[in-house]
Symmetry: none
DNA sequence: GATGAATGAGTGTTCATTCAT
DNA sequence: GATGAATGAACACTCATTCAT
C-alpha cells in the first residue's frame, strides 16, 4: 500500500515537473500570451484538466518562475567574497546579479513576463522585495563608508543600477543574445560605479 | 457650398482625431493587447465600423504613432547646436534623444508597443533605421577625432548608449514617472561617455 | 438649360454604365458573394452612396443581368430559320440557345449567380419563364408532328434538354473554357434528340 | 470503470454526430456560406466552443463530407458485375455512379459545396482524382475493344459523361428532387453511350 | 446627382476555465 | 489523480445599407 502511494506521489511529482518544463519552454519561446493552456497540456503530455489540478490558473503557472527570482539573488548574496570592502562588495554583487539575471531561466522569464505585463507591477520598486532591499543596504553601506560621493542619494544610485541592469537585459532580449554580454556588464557597471565614487 | 464641404471634412477630421486620441490613451494606459477595438470605439464615441473606415486594422492604429519615431530623431539632429565639437555633439544628441523619447507620445508608445511585441523586431538594431545610423555616424566621428579611446568599437558604444536609453525609458515606465528623469539622463549619459574618453 | 440637363443626363447614363461594367467584371471574376459594394464603387470610380442612387441594393445590381436572360432567348426565337420543320426548329433552337447562353455575358453571369444562390430559385422550372414556355411549345409541336416517340412526355424532354444545357454550361465554368464548346453542344444535342426520335 | 469510460466516449460520439447532422442539414438546405457556426451550434444543441473542440474550423466541418467522395466511387468500382464486357461495364458504372452521387450525402453535399465555391477547383478534371482516372480507364478499354467509334477521343467521352452527370445532379438540386431521377439517368446515359457506339 | 461618414449586427475563431466522470 | 467535453464571453474584422450634407 505505501509502495503504491509512493509511486503515485512520484508520478505526481513527475507530472508537475513535466508541466513546469513544458510551460517554461513554451513561454520562453513564444511568450506568455501566445501560449494556450491546451498547448502546454499537449507538450506536457497530459490533459488540460490535470494542468488545473496542479495550478490554479495560467498566472500561477508563470508565477512559479518569477517567485524564484528573489531566491536567486539571495543565494548570490551569500556567495559574495568575504574579504572585499563595501564598495567592492557592491560592485561584485551588481555585476554578478546582472550576469545571473541573464543566465537563470527563472529570472529571465520573469523579466520577459513583467515586460509584457507591466500592469502587474512585478518590477516596481518596493522596499519589500528582498533584492531591492539588499541592493539598497549595500549602497548605503558603501556610502556610509565614504566610498560614494554624498551628492548621490542611495535611492538614486539603486535606480541607476536597476536602469543598467534592465537596459542590458532588454538589449540582450532584443538582439537575441547576439553579443558578448559579460564584458558589457563589467564595463558598464564599472563605468557607473566609478562615476559615483567619492 | 465650400462651407458645407468644409464642415463635413472638419467633422471627419474631428472623428479621426477622437479615434486617435482614444486609441492613444487606452494603449498608453492598458497596452496594445489589452485594448479592444470595441473599447476604442466606445471611448471615441463612434461605431466599430467607423474605426475601420479610418484605419485598416488595429495595427494601423498603433503604427500611426510608431511610424513617426524616426522623424522625431531626425528633427532632433537638425537642432544640434552648431558650435560643438564632435564629442559634445554626440553628448548633446544622446541626452536630448533620450529625453525626447520620453516626452514624445509617438516614441514612448512605440517603445511600449515594441516591448510587448518583441517578435516584431521593432527595436532591433539595423543599419537601415535612421536613428541608429545617425548615432553610429556621430560615434564614428567622435572616435575619428580622437575623443574616444580606441579600445571601444563604435558598434559597442552604440550598444551601450542604447542600453542606457532603453534602461531609462523602461524604468520610467515601470515607476510610472515617479522620478525626475532629466537629471538621471544627464548624469548617466555623462558617466557613460566620460568612461569612454580617450 | 436643356444642354445642361442633357449633359447631366448623359453623365448619369455614363455613371450607370460604369457601375454596371464594374459590377459585372467583379462578379464575373470573384463571384457575387466575394465582391463588396465598396469594391464595385472603387472600380466604377464613384461613391458607395451613388451606387445606391442607381440600384436599390446589391441584389438589384446582379438582377439587371439576369433580367436580360429571357430577352436573349426571345431574340433567338426570332432568328430561327423559316424553312425548317418542327423537329429541326427545335434542334436549331436548342443548339443555339446553349451556345448563346455561354457567349452572352448576361446569361452566363445569371447562371453563375443562380448556382451560388440556389435559394433564389432563379433556375427553377416555371411555365411563366418565357424560355421554358418556348422550349415546351417547340417540343410539343415536334411531338404533335410525329417526330418524337410518344413514350417521352414533353415535360421529360424539356427536362432532358435543360439537363444538357446546364451540364454543358457548368462543365464550361468548371474547366474555365478549356475545351471547344460548340462541337460538344452539337454532338450532345444531336445525341439526345436522335435518341428521342419516333 | 470501463462502463464509465464508455459512457463518456459514447456521449462524445453522440455530440459529434449531432454536430455532423446539424451541419449537414443546414449546409444542404441553405448552403455552406449562409450557415453560421452559431446556427450549427444551436441546431446541434451545444456551444460554439464545443464545435471547435471537434472540428478545427468551418471548412473541416464540410470536408468530412466531401473527403469521402472518392471512396464512394471506389467502392462502386468493386461492385461492377464480373460478367460484363468493357462497354457494358462502362454503362453500368456510369449509371450507378450518377445514381449514387445523388443518394450519397457525402457526394451530393460535396457537389453543392463545389458549385458554391468554384474557386476551390474541387470539380476540376485531374488525372489524380481516382474517379476521373477510373472513368477514363473504362472508356479507354471500351474504345480499345472496338465498342466505341474512333472519332470520339476518350477525353471527350469522359467530358460528355461528366456533363451528363453534373447536369442531372444540378437539375435534381434545382428542382429539389421533384422528378424520378433513376429513369432519367438510365435513359440519358444510354442515349449518350449509344450515340458513341462504333 | 453625388458624397462618404457612420452604423451595428454579424462572421469565424480563440481560450481560460469548469466539472462530471 | 486524471480526463477532456463543454462553456461562453471575447476578439478582430466585414459589409450592406442609410442619410446628412
Amino acid at each position: 500500500m505505501s509502495d503504491r502511494l509512493t509511486s503515485r506521489a512520484k508520478q505526481a511529482l513527475e507530472t508537475k515537473k513535466k508541466i513546469q518544463d513544458a510551460a517554461f519552454e513554451l513561454f520562453e519561446e513564444y511568450g506568455y500570451d501566445s501560449v494556450s493552456m491546451q498547448e502546454i497540456a499537449n507538450k506536457a503530455g497530459c490533459s488540460i484538466g490535470n494542468l488545473y489540478h496542479y495550478y490554479k490558473n495560467k498566472d500561477a503557472l508563470v508565477l512559479q518562475f518569477t517567485d524564484h527570482v528573489d531566491e536567486v539573488y539571495q543565494a548570490l548574496e551569500n556567495e559574495i567574497p568575504e574579504d572585499l570592502d563595501s564598495f567592492e562588495r557592491l560592485r561584485w554583487f551588481v555585476v554578478n546579479a546582472i550576469s545571473r539575471s541573464n543566465k537563470e531561466k527563472a529570472v529571465s522569464l520573469g523579466f520577459a513576463h513583467a515586460l509584457k505585463n507591466p500592469e502587474l507591477g512585478t518590477l516596481n520598486y518596493s522596499e519589500k522585495r528582498p533584492y531591492y532591499r539588499t541592493l539598497r543596504n549595500m549602497v548605503r553601506q558603501a556610502r556610509a563608508d565614504g566610498h560614494i560621493a554624498k551628492d548621490n542619494s542611495s535611492c538614486d544610485i539603486v535606480r541607476k543600477i536597476l536602469i543598467l541592469q534592465r537596459g542590458i537585459l532588454l538589449e540582450w532580449r532584443i538582439e537575441e543574445g547576439a553579443f558578448d554580454i559579460d564584458p558589457v556588464i563589467e564595463q558598464m557597471v564599472n563605468g557607473l560605479l566609478n562615476s559615483l565614487k567619492a
